[in-house]
């Protein structure tokens, strides 16, 4: 069981794989942005866009509202300057997770695929938005430092 758990994280981190080259950062991300790569939205009006992500098998990340203040919430960020503004995000509720060795403490986490409902306002034209999703991932024995995954979307506002 411990071998499997350590193995999952090691794989996610790229440790112990023959293909892993030490120092070849960035290591494989625990979270990947799936889609959409391109959206068409009405210009200068709030538009709802669902952003799909997936967490690598065997790992979990904190939800946007973790139960403890020192835990890093999953957060979507758009560039502060740009033609596309993030007007709001509706994050899904996390599911409960407890560590085998401490069933008393519940964490609020995302696992597998999850969707963020973003509201964006774009100026007329075509814009490449380079947003980021900040998260902090763990398996059931270990944690990785907080990281950010790029969320690149081609926004066409008409």
């Amino acid at each position: 069981m411990r071998l499997a758990a350590a193995g999952v994280l090691a794989l996610a981190l790229g440790i112990g794989q023959t293909s892993f080259q030490p120092g070849s950062h960035p290591r494989p991300a625990a979270v990947s942005y799936l889609f959409p790569e391109q959206v068409t939205v009405p210009a200068d009006k709030p538009a709802a866009v669902d952003l799909h992500f997936t967490v690598a098998p065997g790992l979990h990340i904190n939800s946007h509202t973790p139960h403890a203040r020192e835990l890093v919430p999953t957060t979507l960020k758009f560039p502060e300057t740009g033609a596309v503004r993030l007007a709001g995000v509706s994050y899904p509720a996390g599911s409960d997770f407890t560590f085998d060795l401490d069933p008393t403490e519940k964490l609020s986490v995302y696992t597998g695929e999850f969707i963020l409902h973003a509201q964006m306002v774009a100026a007329p034209g075509a814009h490449l938005v380079e947003a980021t999703l900040r998260y902090q991932a763990c398996d059931n024995q270990t944690c990785m430092p907080p990281r950010s995954v790029p969320v690149t979307i081609d926004v066409i506002a008409k």
């Binding site: 411990r2 071998l3 499997a4 758990a5 350590a6 193995g7 994280l9 090691a10 981190l13 440790i15 112990g16 080259q21 030490p22 120092g23 290591r27 020192e70 835990l71 890093v72 560590f99 060795l101 401490d102 403490e105 964490l107 902090q136 763990c138 059931n140 024995q141 270990t142 944690c143 990785m144 430092p145 907080p146």
Partner: protein, 214 residues
Amino acid sequence: MKRNVIVVAVVVFLLVVLGLAGWANWQNRKQMLAAQQAHQSQAVLIADSGTGSNAIGHLSSPLVGKPAPNFTLTNLKGEKVSLASYKGKAVQLNFWATWCAPCKIETPWLIELEKQYQPQGFEILGISFDDLDRDDPKLFAKDKAEIARSVAQLKIPYPVLLDGDSIAKPYGDSDVYPTSFFVNRSGTIVAASFGLTSKEDLEDNIRKALEEGK
């Protein structure tokens, strides 16, 4: 005359090609050497020597059996603390962070174990891997206050040192937390543990650090 110019041009061209090839070869060798050096201290996933369904796997460090890389870090009071000053004692270097939930689970075990084995010459140094904003004094103070808050909340009695990232490389840059290195009285790493194990595993490693290198 024209022939001489052509000959000179060809020779220059060949010299440039040879020079570039040599430079590329040197760069390649340099990169390979750096990768090799990094690999020597990189944690790797291995299975324990035991076989059968109860065999336990762990991340092992090639640093085991080698002298613990020395460091000087600052504690929460702003005082400098050096690993070298702990020579003659068995030390557990516990790499942790406030955002690491499994670290919080093992902390009460560490507190108990340090209390139990301190009379025999055992000490724990908690090393925080929380980010510190050194460019902004206000944010730096805030980051430090957050770590101090967690230390108080977890009732950690042993020293907690800041800026673990600065010593990550010599300690294998494993990037998984919690991680512990067990250093014997002579300053040699006798065991390493990666991730949440059990209190018994931690105790076994502490005993190893106390018994070896007397």
